[in-house]
Symmetry: C2
Subunit: 643 residues, 2 copies
């Protein structure tokens, strides 16, 4: 097979590929990650690149997404174009997944930082419950003699039992192999790392020289579809020493879980997509270790929370059946593994655990969220809403919990929108409109690059409030508002003109964007209605709504209510809890009891499968209006807008 | 470093060695195993070989064991002679460890064959207790649907719980990885192999397509210092399908456990000596699998019983501390491992367990022996004696058990004796002397090659009964018995003249041989006396003595009593139970309850460390007589011989 060289500009990354690689694959191999929303299926049009040297033919798929001019200038879809010659490829900024984006300080506020947890009251783990996933115990063993001639292992067990209750103790064969010389070389002064399996049984993960009890750390990790966030936690004090975030490099295999499942179930797909989760997790661990001056060998516990697909990919389990009716995961309750089994950069015997999930579409991230929100600790009925590509909703209290998941599409994540982008530097995040006056804020105060989910919600609420769009989201063709214009047959509203933006192109919202967002919010609201109906409740019964997810504190509650994304209840009842998946994971890291509680919660939650519920469709159609076809559900909006 | 070629004759095995290899090491590398009783320390003189081409200098050590003539003809000690030139080496038959020896059909009767178990009564496992180490369960799973949407793992668990009680079920991550497609490709018809950890918890070792319940096998293995014996057991019926035996290839690193420990604790020694146990075990498994037409993948359980050193080497644990005061093993209760961890040729997830031991010198073989003998099931006080290089003794009943170990030296194994050999083809095993008439039987009826342990006991008893030797074991210098002669300053008795033997050299017993045997039997008798004294008992209190070990049924009980190896109690109270280590191991394989009992027994047995007991030395000295200095202990001998 012949080999071809490809150079990717403006970075200059080079790669040599053979056989049937397409440009998307070649780019990934060279370390350049091209946006591929659909996972290389040729249906999203996001991976547009320009061939600047060499020859490559666009396929029929490409033509759908490219203008004649673009085709003439050498634009192709990277995923649809095979490398058949040496090529130079220019990757436009909008097609690149930049590592840098998410790692800017500004964007970090999207993630819950330890200081400003709004739900601190529910996160305080009473000292009585504090029992980290792993513990270190210093053992000063009496030297054996003819009268005290216990075997080494029994000697270690005896000493551990003086300090902790442990009817049964276990150790693995490899740990035992070097025990004899290790104990003697260190004058019988050693530290045992223990992992309590349950009340009866404790496993000794490792024995090491001297007293290292002062250094015992764990990692709590939220494995999101888009972003991975890891916290370094001191297991002795519970203190968060640091937090780092990174792109989930699986994005190169598709932006949403469905595309990734399709990829994972293709030949060899699973192992590369599994590696693509492990790799960024390791990078985060490496960074945390280096920044905070701890030894990787003192990282003895790791806990991950993620949706069911992410958890499967993290552990290397086949995700294929999650995607297809009847939507069955391999497991919701996952076995723990050693760091070595997963190639994680921790102590090789460190324990790795995943927060259990409920079903294929309500995963461990939601269980962790329920744990963190504390909704199951109170008799008040509350809801947890995690807004992302999928919207997961849990409703209940300390006696019952019901949950469901609705596909919301990518609008809230800033994708699937003409000028959409993630909530990173340069994204419009807040909008105020006064007739043809538009006021906006960008993340980091930077020049405008696009609009993120919270900006979009703001903008649409403002357009609606100003009656620039009607309740169905349409822009009038005969508007005298200078910002309303027609472009390629579609009506759009100009938020920022070319001279305000970094690219020089104006940032707009068009009718398709509005329609997509209405569908997204409609799906979530409909899901919540069906869920509440299933337990004979209405919106008013909700004492509290906890909103989790990437929006963080950016989401303007009143505007979210105004467009009908959130129920019309007093705004003070709505709380943002940020990355509650991460918070719940950390709780599990610090308290075996919290982890046991997560297990109970996952078993307790009744899952409602909406995709087969005819009521969901009816509710969805009814919600495809701003704020809703039934204005009686939105009295506060009715008051402003009239009926 | 320069390389040298060595050819070993008469086999013609060639090897190229470099550096500082000695001839013993070079031979092992070429596949020729030279007898090395002391493990290459230069102190046993067994590895004499003749240099027939090339030059090699004998060392001072060599000179001790070689006559001037032998040195002149090129004899050296293989372990003391470095290879510094190209060499041709002739390995005399007595210096070779022949694989073939032990594998002859005749020698197999040394091992307990399933048909002729003498202690059958104690081995019957009541059906209520039958619960093999691993079990297969056929699962015909209902296909998932939207209304029965349990995760795959929960679905498997649910079905298993219909068939067995299992509050907790566990599975490893690797087993989970292929579960989704495995279940679907096989239409939800699969077989689970389960391993009950305790009453609460069951581990799923594997899932495989279809119904394979009819095929579930285990291996029970006795890992002896000299010999390894493996039985193939049908775990469904308990039937023994086959048995194979082989040399423990560690013998190349020393014949006794002490030499092997010294070797194992030298650089790199442990991994090669570990491999040298695994290799012959695998050969036995391969042979069993082939002979009996079973699939290795249907071997799901393996249980080993061996002394503490062998168990350590089998698992790759450091044995170094066993040898040195205060004689501490790494562990008496060993963690189980997977077949893959130990590279055993079974199903990779097969469970491998070792019968637990009591101390450094009372190992799992003795625990298994106690289990098999049934002494702990009865209120009668019994003893178990395992006679080998070490003599282990257990005394007790269903309420208490005490045990000890005495170093008996190699005399009973046919080593350390001028014409000694193992109990294999051509060994004199039975002797009757009538003045100068000697009648003997050889194993397999073959031409005489030497004398084994049971033959030596017979011969010495007969020499004593005929008053050819006195109670101290001396041969008179002025005997008129033509078979009594002096040779190189030492008195000896000719059992077989040169024309009766295969080598043409006469087979004799000399005073050193007799003295060694008296020391060996003295050590065992003294140990038993100290043990009985510790519980305020004398010989008469023993209702039964079970004799285990390589002697098998060859040992003549009355003669063993006559020389003072066994206590003078009615011979019908003494029973041979052959390889009770293997029998006990098999019981553990077939019954979790039996294995749990072995654990209890190992904890229950009180170990007496004789090496620091001054009473032992006194008893030992008193026992260095035929049968004993205190003839009142041997009334039956006193009656025959007078006092």
């Amino acid at each position: 097979m012949s080999k071809h060289k490809v150079v990717f500009q403006p970075v200059g990354a080079k790669v040599e590929v053979e056989g049937e690689s397409n440009i998307l694959e070649a780019a990934a191999e060279s370390g350049i990650y091209i946006n591929s929303l659909c996972g290389g299926e040729g249906v999203c049009g996001k991976c547009r690149v320009q061939i600047t040297r060499g020859e490559a033919r666009p396929t029929s798929h490409s033509i759908r997404f490219l203008s004649r001019e673009e085709i003439n200038s050498g634009f192709v879809l990277a995923c649809q174009t095979e490398v058949k010659n040496d090529l130079e490829v220019w990757v436009p900024p909008e097609a690149r997944l930049e590592e840098e984006q998410i790692l800017t300080t500004e964007s970090m506020v999207c993630y819950q930082s330890p200081q400003d947890l709004e739900v601190k009251d529910t996160l305080d783990i009473p000292s009585l419950l504090y029992m980290p996933m792993t513990q270190k115990i210093y053992l000063s063993l009496p030297k054996p003699s003819l009268t005290d001639n216990l075997a080494d292992l029994d000697r270690v067990y005896r000493e551990i039992r003086k300090k902790v209750q442990a009817p049964t103790l276990e150790i693995s064969l490899p740990s035992l192999r070097s025990m004899a010389s290790m104990l003697r070389e260190n004058e019988w002064q050693v530290t045992a790392t223990i992992y309590p399996l349950d009340e009866h049984c404790i496993e000794i993960l490792s024995l090491e020289p001297g007293d290292t009890c002062a250094e015992n750390y764990g990692i709590a990790c939220d494995i999101g579809t888009t972003t991975i966030v890891a916290q370094l936690v001191d297991l002795r004090s519970g203190a968060i020493l640091g937090v780092e975030a990174s792109h989930n490099q699986q994005a190169r295999y598709g932006e949403d879980v469905i595309s990734r499942m399709i990829y994972a179930c293709s030949r060899g797909g699973l192992s590369s997509i599994h590696a693509a989760v492990i790799e960024p997790v390791n990078t985060l661990i490496d960074t945390l270790v280096e920044k905070h001056g701890v030894e990787a060998s003192n990282l003895t516990a790791f806990i991950a929370a993620g949706n069911t697909t992410m958890t499967h990919l993290f552990l290397g389990l086949e995700p294929c059946t999650i995607r297809l009716e009847p939507y069955i995961p391999t497991a919701n309750f996952l076995p723990s593994a050693s760091a070595a089994e997963l190639n994680l950069h921790l102590h090789p015997n460190a324990r790795v655990t995943c927060v259990p999930g409920v079903s294929s579409y309500v995963g461990g991230d939601i269980t962790a969220g329920v744990l963190a929100s504390g909704i199951s600790n109170s008799s008040q009925i509350s809801a947890l809403i995690d807004i992302g590509t999928n919207g997961e909703i849990v409703v209940g209290n300390n006696e019952w919990l019901v949950c469901c998941s609705a596909s919301a599409g990518p609008a809230f994540e800033g994708s699937g929108t003409k000028c959409g982008m993630r909530a990173t530097r340069g994204a419009i995040q807040k909008v105020h409109i006064d007739s043809d006056q538009v006021h906006y804020e960008t993340i980091g105060g930077a020049k405008v690059r696009g609009i993120c989910g919270s900006g979009l919600i703001d903008a649409i609420a403002e357009l609606f409030r100003n009656r620039i769009i009607d309740p169905s989201g349409k822009l009038p063709r005969d508007s005298d508002n200078p910002r309303v214009q027609q472009n390629e047959g579609e009506m759009e509203f100009v938020l920022a003109s070319g001279d305000e933006t970094e690219t020089g192109k104006s940032v707009v919202i068009n009718e398709s964007d509005i329609s997509n967002l209405i569908k997204s919010k409609g799906a979530i609201l409909a899901a919540m209605r069906v869920l509440l109906n299933s337990v004979g409740m209405s919106f008013e019964g909700l004492e509290r709504i906890f909103v989790a997810g990437g929006f963080g504190n950016y989401l303007d509650v009143e505007k979210a209510i105004f467009i009908g994304l959130l129920p019309d209840i007093p705004p003070e009842r709505i709380k943002f809890i940020g990355n509650s998946s991460l918070t719940g994971a950390r709780m599990g890291l610090l308290s075996r009891h919290a982890l046991a509680r997560a297990n109970t919660l996952a078993r307790q939650m009744t899952y409602l499968e909406l995709s087969v519920d005819p009521k969901f469709y009816d509710e969805f159609v009814a919600a495809l209006f701003l704020p809703h076809t039934d204005m009686d559900l939105y009295p506060s909006v009715k008051q402003v807008m009239g009926s």
